[in-house]
């Protein structure tokens, strides 16, 4: 598919932006304006974490921060806070990328889930401290659990459809080095 690593790198970065914008677009469709009693998963977050743990170079910090800031602005969330937390979480995962690369998927899933829980707690605590109106706890929990549940699906889809897999020994990575 891609002989030139740099070409593939930029294709995948653009693909990440396209996927993010598509997800925002799907969320914005005015399909039901009644308050919902359920909350779907945050697929964009799962996608970001899955890619960070597979090919960190496809999701550079600047791009990630930009996408989540856009989502914050579009979804009428407090701007910046969620983006900052996601960025910190993604960088923590990225730092553990080398260690997690050789372990099983279960370990990866657990570490992603714990990261999700931590940023959710920090988010709610900060909003409470600064006395910002926030979503009902039940809905947030539901979204958290749904995101955890959907994570393996996102991983499988990004591996099969978009070809974002972990580097095997001997592969050439995007920067042209051999792992």
């Amino acid at each position: 598919m891609a002989e030139n690593p740099a070409y593939r790198l930029w294709t995948m970065r653009i693909l990440y932006v396209v996927l993010g914008v598509t997800l925002i677009f799907l969320h914005l469709l005015p399909l039901d304006t009644l308050p919902r009693s359920w909350a779907g998963p945050d697929i964009m977050l799962a996608l970001t974490f899955a890619w960070v743990l597979r090919r960190p170079e496809y999701v550079p910090p600047l791009l990630l921060a930009g996408m989540f800031l856009l989502a914050d602005l579009m979804f009428h969330r407090p701007p910046g806070l969620w983006a900052a937390l996601v960025l910190v979480a993604a960088e923590t995962l990225r730092a553990r990328y080398i260690g997690l690369r050789d372990l099983t998927f279960a370990v990866e899933w657990v570490s992603v889930a714990s990261t999700l829980v931590v940023i959710m707690i920090v988010y709610r605590v900060v909003l409470t401290v600064l006395m910002v109106d926030q979503a009902p706890l039940g809905l947030s929990l539901m979204q958290l659990i749904m995101t955890m549940a959907v994570y393996p699906v996102v991983v499988v889809v990004s591996q099969t459809v978009f070809g974002v897999r972990k580097l095997a020994p001997g592969d050439i990575d995007a920067l042209g080095g051999r792992t």
Partner: protein, 305 residues
């Protein structure tokens, strides 16, 4: 090769970490700025949305239409039954229409007898709903009219029948309407016929609760809830819905507006009311003919006292 790689990561590491640190600081700074000076950041948000959402518009209409058709398709299965129901309802509606027409005529006659002046400036701009808030946690919609059409923050948005929400955030071509069901929505209301004052507080459910009722025992399910105009939030007398009691015994509003299908919204132009600021002159205005007599009287009274 491996050593080379290690070295390059050593060189880029600190730089990268600094970039990430700066990014996080900028984002948190933006959040704090939003917390301190909300209107400015909200204006920025409105501008961003103004750029992005109309760009989506060409794709949104067909996709929304297709999904709605799919949803409607399910109801075709019981189309006969529905038809019968509709016929029955139509029959009832005809009776109501007759009653409404008579009442309207009577109302017009009475208004004429009393020489009542309706506020001529209460006109509206109609907009199409472009997008919803995109998350289950916030209840708002974007409409395709904005500052270009003279929309101002705080105006009321209605569908044909009842109040839907309040303009909050105006871009050039778009405006955001915070719905009554949003957790940040608080609307001062009057409950008729008892005339009780209360607040309708959004809580992310389809029927927002009514709180701070003065005498709760005078409010019955089925009473009409209208805006009261207190706090100059909205013009007075816009219909919101009917009082209903939930299983927990709490008073809620069943909203008159059809929240399932918000397609067109009317934004009411409202330039506020003139206020009476000078209570002293009400007794004897200076500009009126005969004001000198009034002055003389008051001085005479003062002397008497």
């Amino acid at each position: 090769m491996a050593r080379n790689r290690a070295q390059t990561t050593d060189y880029t590491g600190p730089l990268k970490r600094m970039l990430i640190g700066v990014l996080v600081l900028v984002l948190i700074g933006l959040f704090l700025l939003w917390r301190i000076d909300s209107p400015r950041v909200e204006r920025f948000r409105a501008q961003v949305i103004d750029r992005v959402v109309p760009g989506f518009d060409w794709a949104m209409a067909p996709v929304t239409g297709a999904v709605n058709i799919l949803q409607d398709f399910q109801s075709y299965q019981r189309i006969y039954q529905q038809n019968q129901e509709l016929r029955r309802e139509l029959q009832q509606m005809k009776a109501w229409k007759e009653a409404a027409l008579q009442l309207e005529q009577e109302n017009a006659r009475l208004l004429d007898l009393n020489n009542v002046q309706l506020d001529p400036r209460l006109t509206f701009v109609t907009g199409v709903v472009l997008a919803d808030s995109g998350s289950p946690f916030r209840q708002s919609v974007l409409i395709n009219v904005g500052a270009r059409d003279g929309i101002v923050d705080g105006w009321a948005a209605m569908d044909g029948l009842g109040l839907v929400g309040r303009i909050s955030g105006v871009g050039d071509n778009t405006a955001r309407v915070i719905l009554l069901t949003d957790t940040s929505s608080r609307i001062p209301v009057t409950i008729q016929p008892s005339g009780q004052q209360a607040l309708v507080i959004g809580d992310n459910t389809a029927a927002p609760p009514i709180d701070f009722i003065e005498a709760a025992d005078q409010v019955r399910p089925g009473d009409r809830v209208m805006t009261s105009g207190d706090g100059e939030v909205f013009p007075a007398g816009l219909l919101i819905g009917q009082v209903a009691e939930d299983p927990g015994g709490r008073m809620r509003v069943r909203l008159a507006a059809d929240y399932e299908r918000l397609e067109f919204l009317r934004v009411l132009r409202n330039y506020g009311h003139e206020r009476v600021t000078d209570p002293g002159n009400l007794i004897a205005p200076e500009g009126l003919p005969g004001s000198e007599v009034g002055d003389a009287e008051t001085t005479a009274e003062g002397a008497d006292g």
